[in-house]
Amino acid sequence: MSLQWPDISFQDRMATAEFRVHERAHIVVNSDSCNGCTTRACVVACPANLFIPTSDGGIVFNYEQCFECGTCYMVCNEEGAISWTYPEGGHGIVFHHT
């Protein structure tokens, strides 16, 4: 690629979206399943970067800044490792100019 693009930090990027966080996590990761996982597809594919691999082979996840797209459970190849539902009505992502 020919030109350098001065990109914004990921934190600033996520700060452009509005999230109405509910106290209940709508994503649950069963870390036992993640220990045997070598692909770690959720880590690279989640557009909100919610999945962080830990040194002991598990996955730490956040749910607060979730776009509710569904990519994580779609790309996950460990059956049932990611349980994903919609957040409580009225909560979660609120798009403005999309």
């Binding site: 690629m1 030109l3 690279v44 594919a45 779609m74 539902t85 798009f95 100019h97 999309t98």
Partner: protein
């Protein structure tokens, strides 16, 4: 007696057109939306083709919240160092009755839902539907929601609950879901002044531009797009899920890569990212479509994979609106006849088959796979751009080579087999011809 004649789940374009159609017949209809307002959960590339609204809202263009009317369409091929554009402009698209428009979904969907409310639909926001209520025979008779005392019953439920459609999945309408059938769309809304956009994209007033890009996605199968809003750009990429998962570049890095391409950077630079967003797209067309109806249940819009991702045609909102409208017509007819079984609702299937909704999908059933194939994604852009470069590169004192020779040399250099080229050409011709 059920609480409502029809419950529509999801106030997107499919759900709102369904609710509007039902409310106009005088039947009671509840439109349930999980976001705080219709459109708040919805994101797309940026262009809507509302022709189908002629049937529901005459002269919709006078009231629809539009950013710009698309009067220029570009299809762009990108390699790392080259770009090739086919650019088309039509003044007719800038006047009534118009063709396509850029619009923001929180504006558009909210407007459409309010049309349904004006017609008499009951809109309930901030309410997530958590499941279907079925009777002893397995027929759908209502919904569970996440509110206290949250059950609601109806003669027919229309599931317009989006690409993840938990309702259709729960009810077994999807025999299997394959990640390969989905792409992830990520985009940046980039604020730029109207004057700068007018100048860079060579448009005036409320004219807009739609640029579809093949290549520029860091080797992940998919595509890119740039759409002009009034004083912002929608810039993003669409990425095939298994390919995204199998490499190491994150979605926002892939957008950054596209934005730094020498053909793209001059269009977007200096702008401020005012919103970052993401959404899944059902890309596989007919191949992934679920069962569309069952006793007491109809599925429409993204929930039924009614999204056309066929390279040069990228449409979804129009398919959603039409399928929602047809589902509503079928539901009304079934209720009037007193038979809301799958058989009683079968008009839905017929209306879809008779119109563009399924006819376009049937004609283009091979297109999504072709467009997202490795050859179309990686080899043909390189082949075409290098052939064009060979044609226009002046290499004096050597004489100009013939087009056939360039094509042959480049094909050999890139290792593209004649048989594959012929096969893809036939598939392409059968789809697009």
């Amino acid at each position: 007696m059920p609480d409502f004649d029809v419950i529509v789940v999801g106030a997107g374009p499919a759900g709102s057109c369904a609710a509007l159609t039902i409310a106009r017949t005088g039947k009671s209809v509840a439109l349930i939306e999980r976001g705080p307002f219709p459109g708040s959960k919805n994101m797309y590339g940026g262009v809507v083709y509302p022709r189908i609204l002629d049937a529901l809202i005459p002269e919709w263009w006078n009231e629809m919240p539009v950013q710009r009317w698309v009067t220029r369409r570009s299809t762009m091929l990108l390699t790392d160092t080259q770009s090739l554009s086919i650019d088309f402009r039509s003044d007719a698209w800038g006047d009534a009755p118009y063709n396509g428009a850029t619009a923001f979904r929180p504006d558009f969907d909210n407007w459409l839902a309010n049309k349904a409310v004006e017609a008499g639909a009951t809109l309930v926001c901030s309410t997530t539907v958590t499941g279907l209520i079925t009777n002893a025979n397995g027929a759908v008779i209502g919904i569970h929601t996440d509110r206290p005392d949250g059950d609601l019953t109806a003669s027919v439920v229309i599931a317009c609950d989006g690409v993840n459609s938990f309702l259709a999945k729960e009810h077994g309408m999807y025999p299997h879901t394959d990640a390969a059938h989905f792409t992830l769309g990520v985009k940046e809304t980039i604020t730029l002044s109207k004057d700068i956009i007018d100048e860079r994209f060579a448009v005036r007033g409320n004219q807009g531009v739609d640029i579809e890009i093949l290549g520029g996605t860091s080797g992940v199968n998919g595509g890119g797009f740039i759409y002009t809003n009034l004083d912002s750009l929608s810039v993003g990429v669409v990425l095939k899920l298994p390919k995204l998962a199998a490499q190491s570049k994150r979605p926002e890095e892939i957008i950054a890569g596209l934005k730094s391409h020498s053909a793209i950077a001059p269009l977007v630079e200096g702008g401020t990212v005012s919103e970052y967003s993401a959404h899944l797209i059902p890309e596989a067309g007919l191949k992934m479509m679920p069962t569309l109806l069952d006793d007491g249940l109809l599925v429409a819009g993204d929930a039924a994979a009614m999204c056309l991702a066929a390279g040069i045609w990228l449409e979804g909102v129009n398919f959603a609106m039409a399928s929602g409208m047809y589902a509503a017509q079928a539901a009304c007819e079934a209720i009037e006849k007193g038979n809301t079984s799958a058989k009683g609702l079968s008009l839905y299937k017929k209306l879809l088959e008779d119109t563009f909704v399924l006819r376009d999908h049937r004609k283009l059933r091979r297109a999504p796979q072709l467009v997202l194939s490795d050859r179309v994604q990686h080899m043909y852009p390189a082949l075409i751009t290098s052939v064009v470069q060979g044609m226009f590169h002046v290499n004096n004192p050597l004489p100009k080579p013939g087009l056939r020779k360039i094509l042959k040399d480049e094909r050999r250099r890139l290792g593209i087999r004649t048989i594959d080229l012929a096969k893809d050409a036939i598939t392409g011709f059968r789809s697009f011809g």
